[in-house]
Amino acid sequence: MPDEGIWSAQATTPSDIEEALRELLKQQHAKSEAYVPARVLNMVAVVDRDWRGEIYNRLEGVGRYHASRTILCAVEPGRETIDAWVTVSAETDPRPGELSLTHERVVLDIGPRHLKALDSIVDPLVVTDLATLCWAPHGHAEAIDALLRISQVVLVDSINEPDPRAAVRRAHQLVQEAYVVDLAWLRSTPWRERIASTFDPPQWREELGRLKAVSVRHRPDSGIAGVLFFGWLSAGLGWQPGSLVQRNGELFGRASARRGDVELLLQPNEKQNAPGLSGITVETASGMTISLERGTGGLTAHRRTRDGTESSWTVLGASRGEAGILGEGIRQALLRDPTYGPALECAEAMLA
């Protein structure tokens, strides 16, 4: 079992916690010089106290994408003081000639009154000069607004918002102030990669200008992921997006392309268990249809060309699972995807 340093205190202060962190790091280094603190990213998560354990376990499940220093703020109704637990732990026991990375975890029990100025509590606890990512999976918009003063990146999951319009509006507001990593967007990454890839061979690329209809199937709560996918196509292909309207439980709309309108359809799929998309079908004016569905070992692709020739294959890839998506969200905090913002703007226009 790798060595672990632990400290805890009730009714404590940020400066005491910061001192404890420094002391634990010193102790760890004194035990072995092979212990080296990871220095990649700070992550601040603000959660409901009742779900603290669940979120803690989710963050533990991201494997190698652990933030270097995680500060989990659990909000407990009525609480006036701050209780804190600090651990510094290594991934592995040091082996001769090799280093062992350590990560710091700080769990704070705080009250609602702390949220408005949460940045003043967290600021002394983050590692200076590392990017800071903040995440509030249970709402707590007030805390995120405060943390924006010390964070460069905000993690959101737009499918958690019951109203897609509100989700897009909130993401758009955050985009003005920080870099936004949206898990709903990341869930559609393999689908975007595959559609881009399908039309990449020069003989198919011309078909991108002839798209006639795009339908996206999704888990009922994940419609926003489909709207963002439409937004991505619209921004990439220069479409003018129109409004999406309800029709028989589905969302239907059009986008204006250079050669005519493209029909857009969002269809909830009750059989889909995992959050996100379950299938995409793209039709072109020349009579080609491409569809992608979730399958075993990857996405099942099917193509019918204008002469009626059909072909099916599997696009290989392992499912990342929800832990993998969260890990990917943390990793993306250090990258910059220039396509989310334009896709979000188009999505906002579709939901207007």
């Binding site: 990649v40 990669e193 595959r194 003989q203 690329r205 011309e206 070992g297 072909s311 696009v315 890839g317």
Partner: protein, 510 residues
């Protein structure tokens, strides 16, 4: 106005994984050690991450007369044993479904006929011409033969798609052999189709040298003879030759590591900034460095090159035998297990800066690093007494095992006196990035499928490397008798000290 077909694909912007044209990969030597340990696991990991082309087929060619299913079973076992991650059975099953096996010897026309037929079936089934990559994971003796046969069977080109051939090292064992092989390869293929692999270049830390040099303004001003005193490149291994006596006793340390990997590290360290990072711009700059290294005159070789063999000593905490007592090694072998060179890059930037290279088996520990020693400061106002004193700064780039960069600086020892000792400022790759580095073969296979040759060695590069190494081998071959010995587990032979030209130059401790 350009049509979409002529334009870049607008949907690839922002994607981390760029599309790769549908590909059929053919591995000659599909049951060999390299295929089992490296290539098949690398292909699986690309599949797992969704990085393979959206349509991908694999055909393995080897002598064993076994059915497709037996090959798939072997491939499954190899992947499970050697993959860097636990395979997902569903992905693995799907990948294996797209594998075919063609049995036969590499000189048999029937092999190429079957290959042609199978690859054509894949194209027909998909309705598009797949790119074809032929990976020669065989003994070098078969490279020319296989390429000749590919040409004879018109498998060297494919209408509507690209054909590429990957050749593993070594590219010849002498300059003459390398020239002959390149001539034979290029009588069938265009250079743009040839991907000579040096897996060292696929390592993240080696590629990081380019980022380190060309993405940081602070190093370029000192990166020249005006500030750099000398450079040391070390590739040390703590292990012996293991079961590779058959290969190693013919090759030796100079061919095994210096001619390829270490000269590649040297070129990355010394090259001028390329105009772009396109394959040819980068390789043009690397070749210029190699051309600036004068091949030694035979009678000058003893002054600039040292070879030795390990004798019995300690390794991995136990007593180990010397090279001449290893299984499969002739008792009068004069193959070197250690080689050290002193080279100079004779150009405006580097003239007069000695570049020391050394590699060896059974050294004190496993480490690959480049140490750049800066010139001492011109005047010292500090006291030297009572401390180890002011040492020239060193920039050390470590490729393995603890990948990173460190900079040694002089710092004041706490206390009332102004005493100085060296301290280290370190960047460790593992602490600063969350991602697990992909295996070198994953990167290089993907680059081959994408047609990006930046990390592959061009014909003139290989030939320029041999022009440096060949005279040394030639000179050594004329000196009979036993080689100097160094004790297993040590830092190498004392004879290497003779290469050091300046009294304040030192080999770094291994």
């Amino acid at each position: 106005m350009a049509t979409l077909e002529q334009r870049e694909n607008p949907l690839v912007e922002g994607l981390e994984r760029l599309p790769v044209h549908p590909t059929t990969l053919v591995i000659f030597g599909g049951t060999g050690d390299l295929a089992k340990r490296k290539l098949l696991p690398a292909i699986y990991n690309l599949a797992h991450e969704g990085a393979l082309p959206e349509r991908f087929n694999l055909i393995a060619v080897s002598r064993a007369d076994i059915p497709h299913d037996d090959y798939r079973d072997m491939a499954r076992d190899s992947i499970k044993q050697h993959s860097r991650r636990e395979p997902d059975d569903q992905v693995l099953d799907r990948l294996l479904e797209r594998m075919r096996y063609v049995p036969g010897t590499f000189d048999a026309d029937s092999v190429y006929e079957q290959l042609d037929k199978q690859a054509a079936e894949f194209d027909e089934e998909a309705g598009i011409p797949f790119n074809r990559v032929f990976y020669l994971s065989t003994s070098p003796a078969f490279f020319a033969l296989i390429i000749k046969k590919l040409g004879e069977h018109r498998l060297d080109c494919h209408e509507g798609s690209d054909v590429r051939v990957v050749i593993e090292k070594p590219i010849g064992t002498t300059l003459a052999e390398a020239l002959a092989l390149n001539r034979e390869v290029l009588s069938v293929l265009d250079e743009s189709q040839v991907f000579r692999i040096d897996h060292y270049l696929g390592k993240e830390t080696v590629q990081n040298m380019l980022a380190f040099r060309f993405a940081n303004g602070m190093f370029e001003p000192v990166w020249s003879r005006n500030f750099i005193d000398y450079v040391q490149i070390t590739a040390a291994e703590d292990l012996g030759i293991g079961t590779r006596a058959g290969y190693y006793d013919k090759a030796g340390a100079l061919r095994d590591l210096v001619q390829n990997h270490m000269l590649q590290l040297l070129t990355l360290l010394c090259m001028e900034p390329p105009v772009t990072f396109s394959a040819d711009d980068v390789r043009d700059e690397k070749v210029k460095v190699l051309h600036a290294i004068h091949a030694p005159e035979p009678d000058r070789v003893p002054e600039m090159a040292v070879r030795a063999q390990y004798s019995a000593g300690m390794g991995e905490g136990k007593e180990v035998v010397g090279y001449l007592e290893e299984d499969g090694v002739a008792e009068d072998s004069n193959t070197e297990t250690y080689a050290a060179l002193r080279l100079e890059v004779d150009n405006w930037r580097w003239a007069g800066v000695p570049i020391y290279l050394r590699t060896g088996k059974r050294l004190a520990r496993k480490v690959t690093e480049i140490a750049v020693a800066l010139k001492p400061v011109p005047h010292l106002a500090f006291e030297q007494a009572g401390s180890v004193g002011v040492q020239p700064n060193q920039i050390v780039m470590t490729m393995q095992p603890n990948e990173g960069v460190s900079l040694s600086l002089g710092a004041k020892i706490p206390g009332s006196r102004m005493r100085i000792r060296p301290v280290n400022m370190e960047f460790l790759y593992g602490t600063a990035f969350m991602s697990q580095s992909p295996e070198a073969y994953e990167r290089l296979l993907l680059d081959t499928m994408r047609g990006d040759a930046t990390l592959f060695t061009r014909d003139d590069e290989v030939e320029a490397q041999w022009r440096i190494i060949d005279p040394i081998l030639e000179a050594w071959s004329r000196i009979p008798g036993s080689l100097p010995q160094y004790r297993a587990g040590s830092d190498g032979p004392q004879e290497a000290d003779a290469l050091v030209v300046d009294s304040h130059h030192r080999w770094r401790a291994i």
